[in-house]
């Protein structure tokens, strides 16, 4: 069995599935799903403390269950400008002691679609400030290239709108991005079920980031295990080198010795 370690910014991962922590029926299900997924990287958001004060930290809960096995990737979800995203990232670094950031800068609150200009600006600023930047971006080879050139540690193109479960809307774009990217490509957003995750890996993605597909499944723990298998299967298929697609049929059974010929 060959090792197939994923490396991002010099850090190795045994699992190519990154999992979000939002939207589960309860915290116990979230923790069980995280375990079933085999994920080694969990995303968290950054928000104001509530009025009734400070309660147990989510990161303490994760550390309590998984120790150092599951790392943290804070996000800048909800930010509309580079300025907001940069401050959020800096606050996340201060709160968590982690300098990795999933950079989200949104141009439309309904679509949660990236604002490319602000995203590029924020990436440049955060890279200069010593962050390991993983930007959530559109499935556009030009944007992905610009992000890599600015020093992003990976690029994270969407498959479809966040939380939509619509799968990979433009597989050819994702495949092209993967073929050209000098940094790992993490399919992030829109995955709905296991086959979507497997397809992402078959197209050449280095990893997959998903949340809603698991947290809103009827059985999140079972879906987390399914995603673990799907990412593994898709990756193996990719490494195995698929057969070429053919326009016509090509029989697999021999043509000679046919009865009645």
């Amino acid at each position: 069995m060959h090792t197939d370690t994923l490396t991002i910014a010099g850090r190795g991962f045994g699992s190519r599935l990154f999992l979000g922590t939002a939207g589960y029926p309860n915290q116990q299900v979230m923790l069980d799903a995280m375990e079933a997924s085999g994920s080694e990287l969990a995303t968290v958001a950054i928000r104001r403390i509530s009025l009734d004060g400070y309660s147990e930290s989510l990161t303490d809960v994760l550390a309590g269950r998984f120790g150092g096995k599951v790392g943290l990737l804070p996000n800048t979800a909800g930010c509309l400008t580079a300025k907001e995203a940069v401050l959020t990232a800096q606050l996340a670094r201060e709160a968590l002691g982690v300098d990795w950031i999933k950079l989200e800068v949104i141009g439309d609150r309904e679509l949660l679609y990236p604002d490319v200009e602000e995203l590029l600006r924020a990436t440049e600023e955060l890279v200069a400030d010593g962050f390991t930047v993983l930007p959530y971006c559109n499935d556009d080879p030009v944007t992905c290239r610009k992000l890599a050139d600015l020093g992003a540690a990976a690029v994270m193109p969407l498959g479809a709108f966040i939380g939509s479960g619509l799968g990979i809307r433009n597989p050819h774009a994702i495949e092209t991005i993967c073929a050209r990217s000098p940094v790992p490509v993490v399919l992030d957003a829109g995955i709905g079920t296991a086959s979507d995750a497997a397809l992402a890996m078959e197209l050449g993605c280095a990893a997959v980031l998903l949340n809603t597909a698991v947290s809103k499944a009827r059985d999140p723990v079972r879906m987390a295990a399914a995603m673990r298998d799907a990412v593994s299967a898709g990756r193996s298929a990719r490494l195995a080198g698929r057969m070429p697609k053919r326009a016509f049929a090509e029989p697999s059974s021999p043509q000679l010795g046919l009865i009645g010929s």
């Binding site: 403390i49 606050l91 996340a92």
Partner: protein, 69 residues
């Protein structure tokens, strides 16, 4: 003229003279994990909470990690 500051978007009376004092009133100490603070758009590291004064019109953000995708 009343002295007010904004904490997490809500206006309140300025009752503490330093960031550390305001946070302590909310049971947040420099050793508390998983919390960070920004004053007027700039992060204030825990080691500087005690020496950072609060003045009327200041805006403070106190954040922590929550579930997210």
């Amino acid at each position: 003229m009343s002295s007010t500051i904004r904490v997490n978007g809500r206006e309140e009376a300025l009752a503490a003279d330093t960031v550390a004092a305001l946070l302590a009133a909310r049971d947040i100490l420099p050793g508390t994990r998983g919390v960070a603070v920004a004053l007027n758009g700039a992060v204030v590291p825990a080691r500087r909470w005690e020496e950072t004064p609060l003045t009327p019109g200041d805006a403070l953000e106190i954040i922590r990690p929550v579930q997210g995708g």
